[in-house]
Each structure stands twice: as structure tokens, then as C-alpha cells.
Symmetry: C2
Subunit: 351 residues, 2 copies
DNA sequence: GGTGAGCGTCGACGCGCTTCGATGTGCGAA
DNA sequence: TTCGCACATCGAAGCGCGTCGACGCTCACC
């Protein structure tokens, strides 16, 4: 193992000089700097992470807490995780993977031991039990998702309300008057996943503004459950022509089922999915879809934690809480079209 | 921050005694041990990771290198990553997430800096460029996947050859004589992903043994490309009744296309997928599928690295290389049935 | 030509922990 | 009673790096 002292000896300087070259915290004359840099590459020196963490009081590691359950769409989660990792590297940080099976204790352990300088939490629940630990320890943190009480914390998320509204606008512009929202399984709403609720709220509010009638139906996402969900929608509101789906598992079944019940998409029924573009492209017809920027989510989260880590190190006061909602995009593809002419109208929609 | 010395003072012993209680490397009398343990919980002591790594020459971290490209089925990768993390925790280790965009340099950096004690590589290529760095440094490592030259390395993987053979056996037992293998996109074979090649080899070899005729067709996995692939298969070998699919994206399109070309599954054509059970259950009909044990893959990989880390610490010689292939399972569902009676046979299959 | 400022460099200390050799205690065997 | 041998505990020496205060040199300026 090559140490700082080896490099210093090789370059004919003291070890502190080498340290200052590495950190840039004091000015070093160009010739000595070059001599030291040459020694570093010659010897293949890599600073020892443990010693650096001990002396510098910074591990240059941030912990990423990922959910265990598979209710969220895994590729999206992975994309965020990767974006977090890549972004962190750009700032000289590495990422430690923490699974949620340790619960709040995991966060506490990692922060208290100085293993990680900060924490990024994914899949934040409205009443998340990891937040008290974070606040109590004053651990620099960023949440991906929004809890009930975001005070003092940095929260980053898609603007799901805007996503819901975007769907309504698109369908309303196409002349649809009766919309159905096929959502996540009931347990997702029950455990207060914020994104599900906020999408729904944005959807409902905009629908009300634009005078559309809406139905919300949670759905397990299997073929059978989707069949049941669709049957109930068509029974309750036979004139429904616009479907908004926020449930990756239900999309495929829904398309098949619409087809087998004699409705072609998009001529007879329009479908807007709230899902990654990658998924939307896979279906036939390709889906008009609303997507949030996943990579940016990870980037912003990292920048938020790092800002808080720096603030804490500078002894600064607790930084302001931040609530960053990233705007979604709607991409029009082949699954939406103007509403069909109404043949049988039982009642007029409310204004 | 609470330190070892604080605990020692609180318990009225020297700090080395506390250290020995923590590590268990020397016997401590029961009363003092209990006093120390009480002090630890009273004070909420967490050993400082950096100091521990520095003094103990072990970071208790293993690095997990994950691929960036999305050609592999992400949920499976995630499942393995999570299983690695959970298993590592059971042994007192944490997991550092490394993306492949750093290339071989990432592995070198993490190992040389002592950030990680060992490395687990996912998505190993036959001629993987990260392996020279590993061997040169003697970094304890486990690969998930098998390279060209696995000598001196621990390799863990599904037994893909057995998976391919399992598909053939199942279809052959049902009386199918002409099989088609719908595989990954050409670039997967071109970059020598071992799993793709080995599946194909196992498939071909067993088919030859059992006297079946086979066709292999790479496939992009989109709807259009699958349509093209199927059309070519049926043009080349109209009597094909057994399909083996190893391409998650192609499964859905294939099922639809078989249906729309007038073949019902499983009466007219049988389909076996090589994919996670979770996916196989999502289709209609539910798919007969071959799956490898993902969780076990992560577990075994962790145990292999840890064994090598311990061996290296004990100054032991380089441990034997290990090549661990985990047996897959075939679950019969609704997509396979006895081959239909042959109506038009142009030629006999070769024995 | 002397003075002060500022830049570049050095030496030493400490971060919190592990580990080794040494010390002290109690016991059974001689 | 004495010797020796476990066992239990202690003290001190690092592990490799960051950082602070100090020192010496150069240069502009009076």
C-alpha cells in the first residue's frame, strides 16, 4: 500500500504539502505541485478512505435507502438510484445502498457511525417513521417523495398533481367528457404513498375545473383484477371514453380488455398512461404518456444532500427546507384521439 | 459524538477492554462485559466507521458493480442487488453501489483506497475488462456471470445451459419436434454476454440429443421486430410448434402475434419463457417458464467474497477458484401443451 | 538597505479505533 | 507454602490523513 508519506518522500517534500496539493486548501507553487502529481501517478497512490474519513470528519459517502417492496416500478427506481450514484461521483462521493428492512435503525446506524455524511430516502411515506430519526440526529438528508410534514427537510419529487392535471387537459382538449382513473392497488393509497394521492388530487381538481366527470378505481394490476375494474367502470359510467392509468401492471391488460370488449384504441377510447416512456413505447398502440424526469430527480436529490452536508460542516444554521417539484411532460403517441361522437347520452356532465 | 473512550470512562474500564467486548477477540469476565454493554446502550454509542477501518484494516464494505445499460431485465438485477445488500448486512457488511461508467478504474479506485474490502461484479462479459484490474490487485471478488477465463476467480451464475436444456426436454416430452428460440437482440450476443450464449448452447445440445430441429432468432423485443422474427420463423420452418423465449420484451408481442396469425396457445403452439416467475404470471395465458434462483445468487456471491476477504486477511494463499452454477426450475403453467397432430410434414427431423 | 506582507512549506498533533505485550489476580499442583 | 499458568485487564503504539501554527523566503515599497 502506497501512503501519503511515500508520495512525499518520493517527491522530496513533507507529507502535509502533498495533502494540500490533494485538497487544494493552500496554494502550492507550480513546480512542487507538478513534482507531487508525478509522484502520485508514478506510485499509483490512492488516498486511504478510512484515514481520510477519520482525519477529515467526512466519509464522502451518502447513503441511499431503497424500498424492498415491489409495488413501485422497479426500473424507474433503478434509474433514479443510478442517477444518484453517477451524480454523487461527480462530486467525489460514493453511494451506500441501504435496504429498508433495517427500518429507521438503518438510517441511524449509518449516520451515527459516520459511515455516511448524508442520506437520500426513496419511497417516502406521508407518515414516514424514518424522519424522526433524521431530525433528531440532524442528519443531512434529501427525500425523494413528500411526507406529511416536510419542514426542515429537503424534498424532491415529480409534480404528480401536475401530471394528473396534464392528463385531464389532454383528454379534455380532445373532447372527452367522462374520464376514468385506473390507479394503484388499494394498499398503496392506504399506506399513504404521497405520489398516488397527489396525482389523484391534481386529476380531480383539474377535471372539476374543466367540468369533466371522473371515476377513480384502484386496481391490483393483474389481468383478472383489471378486467373487474374495467367492467365496473363501464357499468357505472358507460359513456367513459378517456382512461388515465397510473399502474404499470394494468396497462397491458386494459388495452387487451378494451379491444376484446369491442372498443378500439384510440378511435373508441383514449388511454393516457402515467408511466416511463420506455414502457409507453412497448405497447400497441404506443401510449400517450406523462412522465417525470427521473435522472434529474436523482441529481437534484444529491445536490440537496451535499448542500446540507456542506452547511453542517461549515457550522451553519439549519438550512431552509426545500420542496422541489419537477415538472412532468406529456408525450402524445397513438393511444389518444378526439372523443367519438356520442351515441347514447344518459345525462349531461355537470359544469 | 460518543467515542470508545467515553464508554470506557462511563464503565470504569480502559478503552481496550471495551474494544475487546465489541470484537470478542479476548475473553472478558461477565460482570465487566455487562457493565460495558450497559454503558454502550446508555450512551447510544456507535463505533466510528472511519476509525474502525483505519485501525482494523477492514472497511466492512463490499462494492457492488451494476451495469448501466438496460438490456438486462432490471427487476431481476434489482432483486439480486437487494439480496446482496441484505445478506451482506447479516455478516456485518454494507454495500457500496458502483456504476459501470467508471469502467475498470472504478474497481481499482474502490479497492486501492480501501473503501471496499471486496467486490461483486454483475453483468460480467466473457472478455470483461475489469478482470485484469481485479487479478492484478488481488482484490477479493465474486462475479455474477462467467467470463472466458474464470481461473482464480469466484463465479456464480444461473446454470443457463441447464435452463436451455430444460426447455427442450419439456417441449420434447410434449411431442414437439420443431422448436424456435427467440433470443436477445443481436448486440447481446455480439458483446458476448455469457448467459445468452450458454442458454443457446444448452438448448442446441439437448435438442440435438433428442433429435429435434431448432431455429435461433435474435430479436430486439419491440412489437415490430418480434413480428418480423415470427414471420421469418414461420417462413423458414412452417411446422414450428414449440417456442422458447429468452427476451422479456418479446414475450408479450409474441403471444399477441401468435394469436393474430390464428394460432392459439397452447393448443397450436407451446411457449416456454426463460424469465422471472413474476413476469410469467402476468401474461394470458400464464407462461410455463424456467427461472433461476435470484436471491440465492446474491447470497452465494456475498459468501464467496467474504470467504476471500477472510482468506486474504489471514494471509492465506489465493483460494481455489469456484464456479458455482445454480440449478434452474421449470414451472408448468398454461402456455404449453402436447404438440398438435402434424398436418403437413415436409421433411423428417434428423435423428 | 531595511521593513512588512504574503506566499510556500514544514513539523507535530490528533481523529477513534485495534492490537500487542505486559501486568495483575486467582487458582491448582507440586 | 511456593511456583506456574490461566484468565482478565491495562497502557501505549500506531493506522494514514487533515489541519493548525510556525517559519523562512521573496519581493515591493519606503
Amino acid at each position: 500500500m502506497v501512503t501519503l508519506a511515500d508520495v512525499a518522500r518520493h517527491a522530496g517534500v513533507s507529507s502535509s504539502t502533498v495533502s494540500y496539493v490533494l485538497s487544494g486548501k493552500r496554494s502550492i507553487s507550480t513546480p512542487t505541485r507538478q513534482r507531487i502529481e508525478k509522484a502520485i501517478t508514478d506510485l499509483g497512490y490512492h488516498p486511504n478512505a478510512g484515514a481520510r474519513a477519520l482525519a477529515g470528519k467526512r466519509s464522502h459517502i451518502i447513503a441511499l435507502v431503497v424500498p424492498l417492496h415491489t409495488e413501485v416500478y422497479v426500473p424507474t427506481m433503478m434509474e433514479i438510484a443510478i442517477s444518484v450514484t453517477v451524480t454523487a461521483r461527480q462530486y467525489g462521493y460514493d453511494v451506500l445502498l441501504i435496504t429498508n428492512d433495517e427500518g429507521p435503525e438503518g438510517v441511524r446506524r449509518v449516520a451515527a457511525s459516520g459511515l455516511a455524511d448524508g442520506v437520500i430516502l426513496m419511497d417516502v411515506r406521508l407518515d414516514d417513521d424514518r424522519l424522526p430519526a433524521l431530525r433528531a440526529q440532524g442528519t443531512p438528508a434529501a427525500l425523494i417523495g413528500i411526507p406529511d410534514d416536510p419542514s426542515g427537510l429537503a424534498c424532491v419529487d415529480h409534480d404528480f398533481a401536475a401530471a394528473g392535471a396534464l392528463c385531464v387537459d389532454h383528454l379534455a382538449d380532445l373532447g372527452h367528457r367522462d374520464l376514468a382513473f385506473v390507479g394503484y392497488p388499494p394498499r398503496v393509497y392506504q399506506r399513504h404513498a404521497g405520489y398516488a394521492e397527489r396525482t389523484l388530487n391534481g386529476f380531480r381538481r383539474r377535471a372539476e375545473q374543466r367540468g369533466l366527470r371522473v371515476l377513480h378505481r384502484p386496481c391490483e394490476g393483474t389481468y383478472e383484477s383489471t378486467a373487474g375494474t374495467l367492467a365496473r367502470i363501464l357499468a357505472d359510467r358507460p359513456g367513459t371514453t378517456g382512461f388515465v392509468v397510473q399502474n404499470e401492471g394494468a396497462v397491458g391488460p386494459l388495452l387487451s380488455l378494451l379491444r376484446t370488449t369491442g372498443r378500439t384504441v384510440p378511435e373508441d377510447a383514449s388511454v393516457v398512461a402515467i408511466c416511463p416512456d420506455q414502457l409507453a413505447e412497448q405497447y400497441a398502440p404506443r401510449l400517450t404518456a406523462v412522465t417525470g424526469p427521473r435522472k434529474e430527480l436523482g441529481q437534484v436529490a444529491v445536490e440537496q444532500v451535499l448542500a446540507r452536508i456542506d452547511a453542517a460542516a461549515a457550522g451553519g444554521a439549519a438550512p431552509d427546507d426545500a420542496l422541489l417539484l419537477l415538472a412532468p411532460d406529456l408525450v402524445v403517441r397513438e393511444s389518444t384521439a378526439p372523443a367519438p361522437r356520442r351515441v347514447t347520452t344518459t345525462e349531461e356532465p355537470s359544469t
